[in-house]
Symmetry: C2
Subunit: 433 residues, 2 copies
């Protein structure tokens, strides 16, 4: 059969990895898998990038992605530009022309999924996005195919390597958030502007995609409650450890009994025995509780040049298998692309356990004030301890609740924060069992 | 389109799970995924099994699998009989008639893979076997598709839940092998005849399949060195723990620099920090080191009614997607089915570290005798310690080597076993880093 032409847009870190992997595996794909994939074109506005890469002979490099869209031989457009501006236009136009799209763009899929999948359907093409979540971990394929026979009751995921590296450094080396972030930047694990990572936004994009896939309807990113890790202090990490817990930034997706989904991103305390508690450094892991398969954990490198390239190229192979088999839309995404929305549980309705840290003046009556407020809001206290403080004018009081409703906990905190002995911001970290 | 008829042969534990999962997910498959799967027929020689199952109205139950082979509407035959007698005949005949086959039969695939895949090619059909390795973990799909862009440099796998349960019980509760096995049998984790599990044979079948898939050639089960766990004593487990190690039954697949494969199954000591060391009870986990994706771990329940049914039904969906897309042989297995053999490294050439336990008389000169034998065979000793023994007439001497060649280690042991102070069997356990 004819060559399967590939056009790569974006020759940055991941794009470079894709060129390398296609070079290393090309013969295996052609000879053993009988997939005649061929990297026909690369487009990047920064021409300096081409010379740093092992671009195959005959591959045409240019500054203009239109060259790729206009080339009839290009069957698969690989979008590694990122963002939702040019990348969105490019992907929609490629699909309109019937070209398949492979993308690593979590923001684009999370924020514009239905638009993309509708365009794919109209164009008779497919969108593949394994690299959008979990880097080299075959996670999207597991959700769309491997675990398709399951109702996925719960997902807990560590899916931002930057945040996990920072929290690991804070816990293992006693670093402050700022020092750990600086370290992550020096090692190339964090961007110069780390906002999207540390704010939880990147995790939110990935959680929105996972929730949509796992539950067969569009879960819009904009509707998710998202908290980052910037408010986590060394004190919290130490206190958590003393209590037998580890703090991780988690993406959480729970199927509720009433058909709603509980989807959120926030730092959470995990018991040290939980398998996710030992996922450290830049590693990602997704823990799933499935009705038939039971507990599953998928673990690996969630970012970086080669792991992400591994996922992109697996999509290129998947797409090529579909092309060779004459089955261009084999795994339909219609149920995701449709406007079928799954109702979400508002954050103030969730029930979980809580770690609370109050900064209070060290004087009689404080503990009574705090505990009575919790009693008034129907919250049962599991333990409370006043620690010796490092600040001169206040001490920390650590309180763990039994399972309680978030609305009640917030009401109790608001009441306590109005009491005259409170000296600083009250910290709330949810405890996940 | 027409219904995709399914014929299920074998209504035992896993077959029952498949009936349940198809019942629970059938509407989702038909309405959302647009796959009109329909369980047309079930065959089992034990008719009592039918009445215990939620068999759908209209599904025909019979004692004779020929009814399934002879039904033109049956497009997918699900083989859950096991073994290589009737099951092999059934699968080959189904493929000859152009029916696709979904099987959980690791023995059949490991011992007769090339024959099956050749029959599939001849019949224009496909063989799916996700359930053959790792139960509910989407492992086969990850090897064939998700990680296809990688050279898989190393695999270490805990893939027999029975053995892992027994070793976990021995380590956590100080049970003897016999007591732990009895416990496993009581809980339904071990067969009445546990030989295939505890001998390592079951793990060997799974390792042979993984090695073939990961390296694109047939690795015959019969050629693999396999050791089980029956010789592991409570003493070994205690000594291992004192040294910071855990004993697990591992399947190991290493790509050697010279193009050969190092494939084997045996108990191994893993440092307590290794992520596989904390995989306990009946859980399975496969650790992979890939050239692009890096380290991956896939973890879950490797056996049991519902996890295995999850894998079988994911194959039914995969196969149905291929049928609906008109792409019945989308993922070719030709490279596995061919007679392309990958040379294996003989066991005596492997290099690793070793834990050795000698049973010796407690008298002067013994340690000198042991250590000088190791010196003569060019093996560097990392540590040696004589323990207090529980037996009246001998004491254990524990020796850890640095990396050494197995041939030399065996020669040193043979020499030492001939010395007059040796009183019992010498134990050898390989240490995996």
């Amino acid at each position: 059969m004819d060559e399967i032409g590939i056009g790569l847009v974006g020759a940055g870190v991941v794009g470079g990895g894709v060129v390398k992997v296609l070079g290393a595996q090309g013969r295996f794909f052609r000879d053993d898998l009988r997939l005649p994939v061929c990297l026909l074109r690369i487009a990047d506005t920064n021409a300096a990038r081409f010379s740093a890469l092992p671009v195959p002979e005959g591959t045409v490099c240019s500054a203009n992605a239109d060259d790729i869209l206009g080339d009839q031989r290009v069957k698969i457009v690989v979008e590694l530009v990122g963002g939702t501006g040019f990348a969105r236009t490019l992907v929609l136009e490629a699909l309109r022309r019937g070209k398949h799209v492979v993308t690593a763009n979590k923001k684009l899929v999370a924020e514009h999924g239905p638009e993309l999948f509708a365009a794919a359907e109209a164009g008779g093409a497919s969108v593949y996005f394994e690299a959008a979540v979990g880097g080299g971990i075959p996670l999207i394929k597991s959700l769309r195919e491997g675990l398709i026979a399951n109702d996925i009751e719960s997902i807990k995921a560590i899916i931002n390597g930057t945040c996990n590296y920072i929290l690991t450094q804070m816990a293992a080396r006693g670093k402050s958030f700022d020092a750990a972030l600086l370290d992550a930047q020096r090692r190339g694990y964090a961007e110069a502007d780390p906002t999207l990572d540390v704010s939880g936004g990147d995790s939110g994009h990935k959680v929105a995609i996972m929730a949509s896939l796992a539950h067969g309807g569009y879960v819009p990113f904009a509707s998710l409650p998202i908290e980052g890790i910037t408010a986590i202090t060394e004190e919290d990490i130490t206190f958590a450890r003393d209590l037998g817990y580890t703090i991780k930034l988690l993406g959480i997706i729970n199927a509720c009994a009433d058909g709603r989904l509980d989807v959120r991103v926030h730092p959470a305390m995990l018991h040290a025995d939980h398998i996710l508690a030992s996922v450290n450094d830049v590693f990602n892991a997704v823990w799933l509780r499935c009705d038939a398969a039971g507990t599953i954990l998928l673990y690996g490198r969630g970012a970086g040049e080669m792991p992400t390239a591994s996922a992109v190229v697996s999509d290129i192979v998947d797409c090529s298998r579909d092309i060779v088999a004459g089955a261009p839309r084999r795994v339909s995404m219609d149920y995701y692309g449709s406007e079928r929305r799954i109702p979400l549980m508002p954050m103030d309705e969730i029930r979980t356990r809580y770690y609370l840290r109050f900064a209070v003046v060290d004087r009689p009556g404080v503990l009574a004030g705090i505990t009575s407020a919790f009693g008034r809001h129907d919250i049962s206290i599991a333990s409370i301890v006043q620690k010796e403080g490092s600040a001169p004018d206040y001490v920390p009081v650590i309180l763990l609740t039994h399972e309680a409703c978030e609305r009640n906990v917030n009401a109790a905190i608001a009441e306590i924060d109005g009491m005259d002995f409170v000296r600083g911001r009250t910290q709330l970290i949810r405890i996940e069992e």
